[in-house]
């Protein structure tokens, strides 16, 4: 734990990416392999299940420090962080121990579900052997909401430096549903047998929003256009006898969409397809709301299957005959994809995402305005020579959305509603990313169904980090797409911007917090709108 605390201190002391990468790479070279594995897991969002609730932790800490609980409750808002409050009030360690990060974490895993007395004894004795900085991290690992200011990309780079393996290869190895309990550092990183199933997906290539005028992209012939579908981005993997559908959040969603099961028999061995899962009716995509009835359900009732059958529209081919095609040009991948799709039986729910042909940009801009009729969000533009890159890389793939006024944000605070909804948490404060920080920038309280609010209310109760009167700060985990009518500069707000009529468009269960929008993105949008708050670049 001491080594991990030193790593954290080094990462915390700098904002320079190169220094962070170097500190992390050194850790990956020197730490015991089990600790490396756990650190990779933590930095890629694979937290251990919560063995102890925040309230239990607070009560045990107050007792251990000999303080009344009310005093703990009064102190916590001043510090603003539960893990830190506990680390600061505990009496100095009796005798420091040298237990490793993985030792502490496996102990925590083992404690889950045990009687409170047992868990309490284990936690209190762990505290007694740790210095303040170790306690802080230990508490953070228990309470969740742990942020080290390291993106998965940065971690992968550091791991590449430490191992000498290529970054893209490592990114691929780190995908999937592995956990530190079920694999080892050697198996996952060095020999890539981590998942056991061999069905892990490739890192998704992501498009950037088109902010410039389309003609600046160059000759139309260099570009491929298709609709930007409003569904769930997914990756279908048929490899070594396994068959899996992954969401962009790296969740395995194979069982949620039984329609695709026959594909396991018809797709050739060693095929990986990137596409969009849509609800489908009468030869057309249904609005996202229809698909929403499918998300969050482990078992899909017959009725839902009939009303909102799913179809995968294929965008790209990442692997064929077991060969990684990601470095090949898009045009080549696309034509091989067309051949594979053409060979499938007609009743299989997998089709091509059709090309939207165009010869000049103004005509395409015209076509884009018809996106709503096509039940799409806008257009996607892909350079015909582009590789399938890892993550977001500006220049090759652009999303040209119809409505620029949406933003993906994470919920930071929740407050109960009024009247009929007084028993539900319905008023939320949202944040976007600013470097390593989350900056609150908007409040919204409408746009979801009562069922969704009820589900979120249960979640808020279990994920409260802190209370300010009626307001609860929650683990920043739930991502929502907000729509709004205008944006303006505001010195009154921390974020420097204010939105007009923000509302929740939908709950993005498929989107990880790491991928929400940035403050810079909003500022760029602000810069691009005229003083009336209207977009100046619509229609190109």
């Amino acid at each position: 734990m001491k080594r991990f605390a030193r790593l954290f201190a080094a990462l915390d002391a700098t904002t320079r990416t190169s220094e962070k990468t170097a500190a992390l790479a050194a850790y990956f070279r020197e730490a015991p392999e089990e600790d490396r594995l756990w650190t990779i897991a933590l930095l890629s969002g694979r937290r251990p299940k919560r063995a102890v609730t925040a309230t239990e932790l607070a009560q045990w800490a107050a007792d251990a420090a000999g303080l009344p609980y009310w005093l703990f409750e009064e102190t916590y808002p001043v510090v603003g962080d539960l893990a830190e409050t506990i680390a600061l009030i505990l009496p100095p360690p009796v005798q420091t121990e040298t237990r490793s990060l993985s030792d502490h974490l496996t102990t925590l895993l083992r404690l889950t579900g045990h009687p409170a007395d047992e868990r309490r004894a284990a936690i209190v004795s762990a505290w007694a052997g740790m210095e303040q900085d170790e306690r802080f991290l230990f508490n953070k690992l228990i309470t969740g909401g742990f942020r080290m200011g390291v993106s998965q990309g940065l971690m992968t780079r550091a791991l590449a430096q430490a191992t000498g393996l290529p970054e893209t290869e490592l990114a691929h190895r780190l995908m999937g549903d592995w956990t530190p309990a079920r694999t080892s550092y050697a198996a996952l990183i060095l020999s890539n047998e981590g998942t056991g199933s061999g069905a892990q997906p490739y890192p998704f290539a992501l498009a950037s929003p088109l902010e410039a005028d389309a003609p600046t992209l160059g000759p139309p012939a260099d570009w491929f256009a298709e609709w930007k579908w409003d569904g769930i981005r997914g990756q279908l993997v048929r490899r070594r006898g396994a068959f899996a559908l992954w969401s962009r959040g790296e969740d395995l969603i194979t069982d949620r969409f039984p329609e695709f099961a026959p594909l396991a028999d018809f797709l050739p061995e060693g095929t990986v397809i990137d596409g969009e899962v849509l609800a489908w009716g009468a030869g057309n995509p249904l609005p996202f709301a229809a698909l929403q009835t499918r998300i969050g359900r482990k078992n899909v009732p017959r009725k839902v299957l009939a009303e909102a059958p799913a179809r995968l529209l294929a965008y790209d081919l990442l692997e064929a005959d077991g060969n990684d095609l990601r470095a090949a040009p898009f045009a080549q991948r696309r034509s091989r994809l067309e051949a594979i799709v053409a060979a499938l039986p007609p009743d299989i729910p997998l089709g091509l995402s059709p090309e939207v042909p165009f010869t000049d940009w103004s005509a395409l801009a015209e076509t884009r305005l018809g996106a709503r009729e096509a039940v799409a969000e806008g257009l996607m533009l892909k350079r015909r020579t582009s590789p399938y890159f890892t993550g977001r890389k500006r220049g090759d793939w652009w999303k040209w959305k119809l409505d620029p006024f949406t933003v993906d944000a994470v919920m930071l605070y929740a407050q109960a509603g009024h009247g009929r909804r007084a028993s539900l948490f319905t008023d939320f404060t949202f944040a976007v990313r600013d470097g390593d920080h989350l900056v609150p920038f908007a409040k919204a309280y409408s746009g979801l169904t009562d069922d969704e609010f009820a589900e979120i209310t249960r979640w808020v109760r279990q994920n409260t980090l802190e209370r300010f009167g009626p307001v609860r700060r929650v683990t920043p985990e739930l991502v929502f797409e907000l729509a709004f009518e205008g944006i303006q500069a505001s010195s009154r707000h921390k974020s420097g911007i204010a939105l007009r009529f923000p509302r929740m468009l939908r709950w993005r269960r498929d989107k990880p917090v790491a991928e929400i929008d940035t403050l810079d993105g909003l500022k760029a949008l602000l810069a691009s709108v005229s003083d009336r708050g209207q977009p100046s670049n619509t229609g190109a």
Binding site: A13, L67, G80, L88, Y413, F468, K494
Partner: protein, 344 residues
């Protein structure tokens, strides 16, 4: 007719009706007893001042021509119907607690204090009393200071590492007290010690009084990273963010304060490096100091008064709050998460 209390709390500050004086008043009064020279305690505009010999030079420097009488530590003086004396508070050089006695009843006003000796300020002396008026700037159990040598060693390491990388170091610290405590406690072998003008003025006064302070060089035109490589600059908080600091090129800066104990505050201040060193008592210090006065009644002021009062009441004290109009160093909890909390 019942005798009125020895001290009363008014909108001008703590008042002693029978002595006809106020202690650290914040509005102009006829006669003010001043615990120390910090601006939230020594304010301009009073008719007459009384402070310790040791605190007087800085108070004069800060307030200009005032009618100031001085008194030695431990010396008693009859003022009106009461006897007063000043006792070391250990907060900054010259700082005092003030003891007031009338017919065997004793009240003590702590002013600002800390219990750990800092090597420069006259060390804190517990004064037995019936009623103790205590500051509680850091009156929460999360505030627990590491021993001074440990903190100094940490700052030395930071300074030495910056110097090794060819960078200047700027330490933000209050000009009276903290700045001198640092220059006296840090390792002069690492590099030259430079001071911002505001720090140097106070330092020169204390040096002239005989406090053991090392030689320092005031930053003036021509003094920069080239002339004094690897130097440590002690400046008032915030100076590193002004054009004044540009002459030092790519320097490293840190803030030295008890508030640096809390990560969120460190981050909000934008200080990536913070050292936890305070001239106020920490949680154990406050509790020990109060116990050692033997007081049964305690009034608290400055800081987390509500919480600390309740804690003392829980411990069996007859505890109350002295409302103050102005707070010294304080922070506020965020009311609306979208709106920046008022800083400092």
């Amino acid at each position: 007719m019942a005798q009125q209390p020895l001290l009363t709390f008014t909108d001008r500050g703590i008042c002693c009706p029978e002595g006809g004086f106020y202690i650290d008043p914040w509005r102009p009064v006829g006669r003010a007893l001043i615990t120390h020279g910090h601006s939230d305690h020594a304010r301009p505009g009073h008719g007459a001042y009384l402070a310790t010999d040791a605190a007087a030079p800085v108070i004069r420097h800060r307030l200009g021509p005032i009618r100031l009488e001085t008194i030695g530590f431990g010396e008693t003086r009859q003022i009106g119907g009461v006897t007063v004396s000043f006792h070391p508070a250990g907060h900054v050089p010259g700082s005092a607690q003030i003891r007031i006695e009338r017919g065997g009843e004793v009240w003590v006003v702590s002013g600002d204090y800390k219990t750990e000796p800092d090597g420069l300020s006259e060390p804190f002396e517990p004064v037995l009393c019936h009623t103790f008026i205590s500051e509680c700037t850091f009156g929460l159990p999360v505030f627990r200071w590491a021993p001074q040598p440990e903190v100094m060693a940490r700052i030395n390491r930071w300074w030495a590492a910056n110097a090794a990388e060819g960078r200047m170091s700027i330490l933000g610290a209050y000009a009276l007290g903290k700045a001198q405590r640092l220059m006296a406690g840090l390792d002069p072998g690492i590099g030259p010690l430079l001071t911002h003008g505001a720090v140097e003025e106070t330092t020169a006064i204390l040096r002239a009084q005989g406090y053991p302070l090392p030689a320092t060089t005031r930053v003036t035109a021509g003094i920069d990273a080239k002339s004094h490589p690897g130097a440590l600059v002690i400046a008032p908080p915030g100076a590193e963010a002004t054009p004044w600091a540009n002459r030092f090129g790519g320097y490293a800066s840190a803030f030295v304060s008890g508030w640096m104990q809390i990560r969120g505050i460190r981050r909000r201040r934008g200080a990536s490096t913070g050292f936890v060193l305070s001239d106020h008592a920490d949680w154990p210090g406050l509790n020990t100091a109060i116990r050692e006065t033997g007081a049964t009644r305690v009034y608290v002021t400055h800081g987390y008064t509500q919480i600390f009062r309740r804690w003392l009441a829980d411990q069996g004290y007859d505890a109350g709050i002295v409302a103050t109009e102005y707070e010294g160093e304080g922070i506020e909890a965020p009311a609306d998460p979208l709106v920046e909390a008022a800083a400092e």
